[in-house]
Symmetry: C2
């Protein structure tokens, strides 16, 4: 087991009606709020009106950054920073999923930074102070509600980059599974794929003696496999939504990879797809992952695939190692297909036009992956995924 | 899944050589430290000298509360509070296991409380402020290094009571598995039993839709089952010590029971055994648990035992439910026996003298347990365990 540090400072209120803690959470930090959200869905569901009522009843003044994009843009971040500065905002409140939260994180840091916010995307260590941030989660996917990461895009240069800072942890996250009842079917699927990819990409690592992390990872994967289809078919099944929501939070910045840290593989490859084609993150991951797995399966890696097959997919351990591995990859693929996720990049509008440049950009850092990947490898995986 | 809150504010430094973070951690809060520890073992291992050297090199002034008992006494807590007040201490540093940490927690709260420290043991809500506390863990067992609980005894009245406060989280915990290489065999066993009991007692709960918590609990139990015997037989096996240490921290105040909270059953019963007979906590638990399980097995509870048997002990799921349950209980008993833990209360000096009074005291609150227990039930379990 590798050395690691661990701390989850975010105060999580999980369950029905936890929005009852919103006012007290905001008022700890001030009365002026920047309300950040994406599209109109929170107005349709009534959540927006609930929040406005809470604001009015508690003398909270708010300003709005609406229309955050699914792959949030640096321009939107800049707008948010300006709004905070103009109005002397005390707290940033993100209401939405990963995109809204990530945008809010960089807004909260950018307000305190004397320079352009893109600097902070390129180098998180420049972040020395942030406005306090509060989250109301409306989709289970990125885990941004309880982690230190943010991913921001600059579409003018086709750059989609991840940044991180220990100051990015939200102060408070309100996780009410009922807010995800209205998540559309395709987003339920891609969210589930995103959660699973956070676990799977780090489950394949080279550290030794990480029994505890490996078993915990398998538990979270089994949770997604069990409840993904239920949430997909019964959108208002509370237990399915609750289990997926808590899995999303635990999947990425806690118990699955502290002690076995490794660079993600599919995420960097997907980020390029989103940067050049603006596709849905979880969809790109679901397409890429089985091909990445096939590409890296060999004598050295097969042992990990056996664990994956036996402990996650309940494949008969008495079979031949490579048979178990192949079945496990096939089952992963079938699982994504059962959630009606696309299986090829062409289906989501990706052509071979940018494959070379995407492969070059994605490969930066992948020499540290579980199975080191060159731009040639990435190109091959892209082509197999087309 | 029940509603819950979750926050792990403790900064954990896990792994070899993490004591390198000790000085910076202390100096965040001040220069005057109360060093709390138990017996002479930290002097024998050299850890004490290492700490003193760090103090000298960093201009840290220290005062000592040595000799904290295995079931820490309120008198020792009072001594610690006096030392802090006399010397204007800034930080409490606990070096040891659960007893030392629990004692330090109540010292850190007592310094800021205008009254007798036993009040805080009886009612944690009286705790409004504490001195910052730092932990160097030397035994994997109670999880006190990353939780909000403390258990203190008053031997003059045979009271052993648990208290809790959100202010009890250590600010920093240094978890170096190498410090547990010298833990004696019997303490390795009883520590493992303690970790497992924290998980098992809450694994048996009545909440519905807690798939994620149940699978995570099973992962931690499997970790203890896998590595307990290895640590017992090879005390210097780093991976075994590391997995057990991290399991101890995750077992009690995090991921296993948020969403399915239930009153513990074996712990209250064991606390009375320790209060009247000063026995080792984990030993008492290992003796009690199989008898508690047998006592509560019936048509209503058997489903949980089936999960336990199949997912934790790998028992054939095609067997009859009660057969699986009985096998699971038997396997738990055999596992504790394999670690040379005593199987009867008589072996550790318990007689039938106080059984009635212990049963009366233990039953307070057990009406909220997974299977509600009266003092009559507790008495029966004590008698079966004799």
């Amino acid at each position: 087991m590798n050395n690691f540090t661990y701390q989850i400072p975010t105060e999580v209120y999980f369950g029905k009606g936890q929005i009852g803690h919103l006012a007290e959470s905001i008022l700890k930090f001030g009365r002026k709020v920047l309300l950040v959200y994406g599209g109109e869905s929170i107005k349709r569901t009534g959540l927006y009106q609930t929040i406005r009522t809470i604001f009015e009843q508690n003398g909270i003044e708010s300003f709005e950054l609406a229309g955050v994009e699914p792959n949030p843009r640096i321009d939107t971040v800049r707008k948010g920073i300006q709004l905070c500065r103009q109005n002397d905002v005390d707290v940033v409140l993100a209401v939405g999923g990963g995109s809204t939260i990530d945008c809010s994180k960089v807004v909260s840091a950018g307000v305190k930074y004397n320079g352009d916010a893109w600097d902070l995307v390129k180098d998180g260590s420049l972040i020395k102070d942030t406005l306090p941030m509060i989250v109301i989660l409306t989709i289970a996917a990125t885990g941004s509600e309880m982690n230190r990461y943010a991913v921001i895009s600059d579409m003018s240069t086709n750059d989609k980059m991840g940044t991180f800072s220990p100051l990015f942890y939200p102060k408070v996250s309100i996780l009410d599974p009922e807010y995800t009842f209205t998540v559309p079917k395709n987003q339920t699927s891609s969210g589930t794929a995103d959660i699973m990819s956070h676990i799977m990409e780090r489950y394949f690592h080279n550290a030794k003696g990480t029994y505890i992390q490996d078993r915990l990872s398998e538990s979270l994967l089994k949770t997604c496999i069990h409840y993904g289809p239920i949430a997909y078919n019964e959108p208002e099944n509370y237990e399915a939504r609750a289990n997926l929501m808590w899995a999303s939070s635990l999947a990425i910045d806690g118990i699955t990879w502290r002690g076995n840290s490794v660079a993600s593989s599919a995420h960097p490859m997907e980020h390029q797809l989103s940067a050049y084609h603006d596709i849905t993150h979880g969809v790109g991951l679901a397409i890429i992952i089985p091909h990445w797995m096939k590409h890296i399966l060999n004598d050295k890696t097969v042992g990990k695939f056996v664990d994956f097959g036996v402990n996650v997919w309940d494949i008969d351990p008495s079979l031949d190692s490579f048979e178990i591995a192949s079945k496990a990859i096939e089952k992963s693929k079938e699982f994504f297909a059962s959630l009606d996720l696309p299986a090829t990049l062409r289906e989501v509008g990706v052509t071979d036009k940018y494959l070379d440049v995407m492969a070059e950009k994605a490969a930066v850092g992948l020499e540290n992956a579980f199975y080191p990947l060159t731009s040639k490898d990435v190109l091959a995986i892209y082509k197999e995924s087309l």
